[in-house]
Amino acid sequence: MHLHDVWFVLIAVLWTGYFFLEGFDFGIGVLTKLLARDRTERRVLINTIGPVWDGNEVWLLTAGGATFAAFPDWYATLFSGFYLPLLVILVCLIVRGVAFEYRHKRSEESWQRNWERAIFWCSLIPAFLWGAVFANMVRGVPIGADKNFAGNLLDLINPYALLGGLVTLTLFTFHGAVFAALKTVGDIRTRARRLAGWLGLVTAALAAAFLVWTQLDSGGTGSLVAMVIAVLALAGALVMNGRGREGWAFGLSGVTIAAAVAMLFLSLFPDVMPSSLDAEWSLTAENAASSPYTLKIMTWIAGVMTPVVLAYQAWTYWVFRQRIGTQHIPVDAH
């Protein structure tokens, strides 16, 4: 196995980590409107991810930085090609991060309401756009002989990409609802579980359509296996959620995300960004990669640091393992 293939896998792992972790963060953001009935309940939801959302988001920065280092051409084409969707994602991540930190800093009603709106919309929009971006990446976009994106915004708007966006939006919201059931206590926990059941069914319908479409379009044996795992895990998550086994349900909704991301990357390989103009012009794990020396250094660093990061992030979740209910929300928080 070449180093650039190893790095293809590692990039997939980083994106999986990102979607697994920030997936439920986005979901929680969406649920602040969908599930919470009042401000205290909204705060219960926000505080389930309070200590961890920032660390979760760093998986995106690491995925971006690692792509830059390991596949400069992939990084350059992806980010300049998907310019406007990424701009919107960036704006949302900025506003959302500030919203979490600043919402409770003033007691005025309008101040708090506006930041709460920001949390909802700036969670919902990126949850949709990431799916659309990845669907387009798998489907192929116009890439010229010079490796540059040669299309425009309209090339990124197509049924497959829109479906991909809906799948990530519903899947992340489902994942968030399962997480909420796992992390809260009281009435909101029961309602989170009930809502997760409905969300899971919608997700299953949309995801099945999207994954089958992907399989027919660009799949192989590997992606077929990943697809089957994703579907089974989603069904399992639904069953476990129904039975009130919240830990299992969350684990399985996580497996669904991981398997779905794996499927997308397996259908990409050996390309990283197929060109819809000419297969010759596609970016591949080989022609977009950095030199073996750089990859070797990066492999060492990733090999040493990733387990360390996983260990202390896991410890953080353990420290904040206590469930949160409305009784835990201090009245005067600022």
């Binding site: 920032d54 920065l61 830059f68 990084y75 980010f79 300049s80 704006v91 835990h328 201090p330 009245v331």
Partner: protein
């Protein structure tokens, strides 16, 4: 949309706006993290409540600030790919590695442990909680190191070769990139300047509170207990910050001098431009003030001190320093084109350099004066000394106090110079980045060749407008919030966590464990969070 602009102009403006803005938060984050960590350590070691209240107070301002630093940092990471895709393709092999290391090592540290610190006051034993903020501080410093290593490579590329087939730069020696003298000196300079920035920030806010308390005293009012304790927290913060300001200010000056010498060697044009030194001179003078014109190639007005520039460049008062015209001609011969192609904006570099030094050193001077006048015991008559919870008298000599007018103005200057290092930092970066032009990677790639060919002008206009607008709105919100919390002062009624929670899996029979609950633990489990969003 068709603007009569070079494609790189807009992309450069966007980079300039977003980066200068991001860099308002970075140095404060670096220094306030360490400052807060120091205060929490003082609390853990001494158990004095004033340190606890100071920790919470500066920690709050630190968090308002780091939130902005983190979110504007995301843009920095993606902007290379979005607006500078040809640059990214050319340098990714070299430049991407420190960036990925920054994310994997530094960002994870910062973001994970900041969460533990914010929410962990009642979940973690004191010492571990304190360790968390130290890890955040280490994370911010490591982050600075990696990104400065990447930037130093753009200033002075080392440890690479140009691949013949692809034409891109490829890494041959990672160690050289991480340890070249440009990197080390720049890291030293940037970190000391960051600590000067944080120190001035703390001095400013502490001065505000101490002046307010002093005025109440002068009116003959007895300070209420609450304000007296705030004074205690502010006084300790002020003294600590003044010490930092002096050490960091001195460090900034020394490292700045070293960095100047490195730059005279590696980018003589930048330094000649910084001095508006048009012709090679031996000995070369240091220009205090000059007005010139690029098209004329000389200065029309100039005041200068002879020999100083020679000393700055070579530690020798009579050494020759090459001028702009000679360097431009040499570079034109080496890289092709006309000499004027290689002259950066003299106005921006010359004045950027002066504003950087001027504002930075003014802040250093204010710190040094403050450190002397607020001293506690040294060369001070016993009856002039002030207690731990009193506003310090500003003492010039052993028995001589500043007049009421100068005392008031000294505290005001403390407050008014609060932002000086921020201005110095911004101009420092503007100077060093604009002074490298026309190069994005010195000697290897021009800025005009670095932009994304596939991105339309409309797209760049949209993104630049969106960021400018968004950043403007957020700046107003942030400054108002900082002012609100800074004015409120430390919440001295807050009680520090009484007992350390246990950090292990609960055993059956423990309070709070399943099956082992008693009345107290049931109450504990329903206790409101000490901090909640």
């Amino acid at each position: 949309m068709d603007l009569a602009l070079a494609p790189e102009t807009l992309a450069r403006w966007q980079f300039g706006i977003t980066t200068v803005y991001h860099y308002l938060f970075v140095p404060l984050t670096i220094s306030l993290a360490a400052f807060t960590a120091g205060l929490e350590t003082a609390w853990v070691r001494t158990g004095k409540e004033k340190y606890f209240h100071a920790t919470k107070f500066w920690g709050k301002l630190f968090l308002i600030n780091i939130a902005m630093g983190v979110v504007t940092g995301i843009v920095q990471e993606f902007q290379f790919g979005m607006n500078w895709s040809d640059y990214s393709r050319f340098v990714g092999d070299v430049f991407g590695a420190p960036l990925a290391m920054e994310a994997l090592i530094a960002f994870f540290f910062e973001s994970t442990f900041i969460g533990l610190w914010i929410f962990g006051w009642d979940k973690l034993p004191k010492k571990i909680h304190c360790a968390c903020i130290w890890i955040v501080a280490i994370g911010t410093t490591l982050s600075a190191y990696f990104i400065l290593a990447a930037n130093s490579w753009m200033q002075h590329p080392v440890g690479y070769s140009i691949d013949k087939a692809t034409g891109r730069a490829e890494l041959t020696d990672m160690w050289a990139v991480l340890t070249q003298n440009t990197t080390l000196v720049v890291v030293f300079h940037t970190l000391t300047a960051a600590f000067l920035t944080g120190a001035a920030f703390v001095v400013g806010i502490a001065s505000y509170h101490l002046l307010r308390a002093k005025r109440a005293q002068d009116r003959g009012e007895e300070l209420p207990e609450k304000q007296r304790r705030q004074v205690g927290a502010m006084r300790s913060s002020l003294r600590a910050a003044l010490v930092i300001a002096v050490i960091a200010g001195l460090g900034t000056a020394i490292s700045g001098d070293r960095l100047g010498k490195v730059m005279f060697e590696q980018q003589p044009m930048k330094m000649a431009a910084a001095e508006a030194l048009w012709e090679t001179e031996a000995p070369a003078p240091f220009s205090i003030f000059a007005i010139g014109d690029v098209s004329e190639g000389h200065n029309s007005v100039e005041f200068s001190v002879p020999g100083i520039l020679s000393f700055l460049a070579h530690d020798n008062f009579s050494a020759s320093v090459p001028g702009i015209n000679d360097i431009a001609e040499r570079e034109a011969k080496l890289y092709g084109g006309e000499p004027e192609d290689y002259i950066p904006s003299i106005f921006m570099t010359f004045w950027g350099f002066r504003l950087m030094i001027g504002f930075g050193m003014a802040s250093f001077a204010a710190g040094a004066i403050g450190l002397w006048t607020t001293r506690r015991k040294l060369w001070l008559a016993p009856d002039k000394r002030t207690g731990e919870y009193e506003v310090p008298r500003l003492m010039l000599t052993k028995n001589r106090e500043m007049s009421a007018f100068f005392t008031t103005w000294s505290w005001r200057i403390g407050l008014l110079t609060m932002g000086f290092p921020l201005i110095a930092n911004s101009f420092g970066w503007i100077f060093t980045e604009m002074g490298r032009q026309p190069w994005v990677v010195y000697g290897l790639m021009r800025t005009s060749d670095a932009v994304s060919p596939g991105v339309s002008q409309t797209e760049v206009v949209i993104s630049m407008s969106v960021f400018t607008l968004l950043y403007g709105v957020l700046a107003v919100i942030e400054v108002k919030l900082l002012a609100k919390y800074a004015k409120a002062g430390p919440d001295v009624d807050e009680k520090p966590p009484a007992k350390d929670p246990k950090l292990r899996f609960p055993k059956p029979g423990d309070p709070g464990a399943p099956g082992g609950g008693d009345a107290a633990s049931a109450e504990d489990a329903d206790k409101p969070m000490t901090f909640a969003y």
